[in-house]
């Protein structure tokens, strides 16, 4: 029985049209159909946050959304968002604070950090830790990541590039 469904969306600004199985997650769709491998599939039940992508401007779990549900939506992955330069300061801060270890969690951490700072560039330690609580780092590098987000927030606040 063919239950596949047609979907049309834009991914990183590019219109995409595909026929997919309804059971395919948005995260798998991005990785396997579009070869955008920045969003990682970790726990597949919403605990680890490695699959985070933006749908219509909001960070969501790519593993908890079916690809077909993104029909008609605007999806942004770490590839597109990083290429736009939007994350340049955060990326720099991650490098400077040694907040990158194996890198598996990094795309989700960056997208989530960006959302935290978008809501409040002055976010402090507690707010950042709470905001990042949905993203696992199994290299145990949380402290460095929090420092990096604090640093990027501080720089944005001063209005420096």
């Amino acid at each position: 029985m063919d239950v596949s469904v047609e979907l049309a969306l834009t991914v990183n600004g590019v219109p995409v049209r595909r026929r997919v199985e309804p059971r395919q997650s948005l995260a798998d769709f991005l990785r396997y159909e579009l070869e955008l491998t920045g969003s990682h599939v970790g726990c597949e039940h919403g605990a680890c946050g490695a699959c985070t992508v933006r749908v219509d401007g909001t960070p969501v779990r790519g593993c908890l959304m079916l690809a077909v549900q993104a029909d008609g939506s605007r999806v942004e992955t770490i590839e597109g968002i990083a290429a736009s330069g939007e994350l340049a300061d955060l990326q720099r801060a991650f490098a400077e604070e040694n907040a990158l270890q194996c890198g598996f969690c990094t795309p989700g951490m960056l997208l989530t950090a960006q959302e935290i700072l978008r809501r409040n560039p002055r976010a402090g330690d507690v707010e950042i830790r709470e905001g990042l609580s949905g993203n696992y780092c199994r290299c145990t590098g949380y402290h460095a990541i929090v420092q990096a987000v604090l640093r990027a927030g501080g720089v944005r606040e001063k209005g420096q590039p």
Binding site: E21, R23, G46, T58, V60, R61, L64, G134
Partner: protein, 285 residues
């Protein structure tokens, strides 16, 4: 893991949704925010023949104030409820509970109706609705039905919804003069399922509690009202002896489960801690 294959339907009207629910019966599962259903699919804990995606049903995503009270549509995302000034004003208990629901990205997708219809015993919203005497409104072909929150949650993942019924909205009565509320919970990590949660709603006169409602999460199959502790506090100031008495009463009120995260004894202790903190929060609010 990956879901077993299923057919996907996206009804554009309630009638179409009812048709699909009838066609598939128990083999059809409604998909709202998907933050609980999709993990169950991924782990193959659920293997429905069809997923009926109700996200595009019209008219179920508004928040409004009516003479009945605050009405929150079933398809409202947690994030929208969290930042709604109407909710903050007319249901501060719900506003306080929202940041405890999952993580930022989970709240972006999860829905009020989904959380209620799923009836997870650790969930925040069901306890708030019970504490606030709210009503769950459900639609079926040819009509709607109002169910008191206290009668809605029947067991773990079990509600009073009948076959072919969809939660369409919840109605929270207008805040009454002199009533105050407070929500708190204890979890191992911010956003995780709470080990224990507590919604308090009480009339406060001077510094005396009248008609206190204490509804715990995570300590039983449904939101658990702590009648003994309520009795120990009613008509009293929540001073240390009263709080201690209410804490002792919780031993008879609650029969918490033990699991890998916490023993029953630890959950009882956490419930007492939350009660003391909650009462303090309530009086300071």
């Amino acid at each position: 893991m990956k879901p077993a294959p299923f057919a996907y339907h996206r009804p554009a009207s309630m009638t179409e949704a009812f048709d699909l629910m009838e066609r598939y019966g128990p083999g059809g599962r409604l998909l709202a925010g998907g933050q609980s259903l999709v993990p169950a699919l991924n782990m193959r804990l659920a293997t429905p023949a069809a997923v009926i995606d109700i996200n595009r049903l019209p008219g179920l995503d508004g928040i409004r104030v009516t003479p009945e009270g605050l009405v929150i549509g079933a398809l409202c995302r947690h994030a929208a409820v969290e930042r709604s000034p109407l909710v903050a004003r007319h249901a501060p208990l719900v506003a306080q509970a929202m940041p405890h629901i999952g993580h930022l990205a989970i709240r972006a997708r999860g829905t009020v109706g989904g959380s209620i219809a799923l009836a997870d015993p650790a969930a925040e919203l069901p306890a708030c609705l019970v504490a606030l005497d709210a009503t769950v409104r459900a639609a079926r072909r040819g009509g709607t039905r109002d169910i008191a929150a206290a009668a809605f949650f029947l067991g773990i993942y079990t509600t009073a919804l009948g076959p072919g019924e969809i939660v369409t909205e919840v109605v929270i009565p207008r805040p009454r003069e002199g009533w105050r509320s407070h929500f708190g919970e204890l979890a191992r990590r911010a956003g995780d399922y709470a080990l224990v949660g507590l919604a308090i709603n009480s009339r406060v006169e001077g510094d005396v509690l009248l008609e206190p409602r204490l509804v715990f999460t995570g300590v039983g199959p449904t939101p658990a009202r702590a009648a003994g502790a309520e009795g120990a506090l009613a008509g009293r100031r929540p001073d240390p002896p009263a709080i201690a008495g209410a804490g002792r009463a919780l031993d008879a009120d609650l029969d918490p489960p033990a699991d890998v995260h916490a023993s029953a004894a630890l959950r009882r202790q956490l419930a007492r801690v939350l009660l003391a903190r909650g009462l303090r929060g309530l009086m300071e609010s």
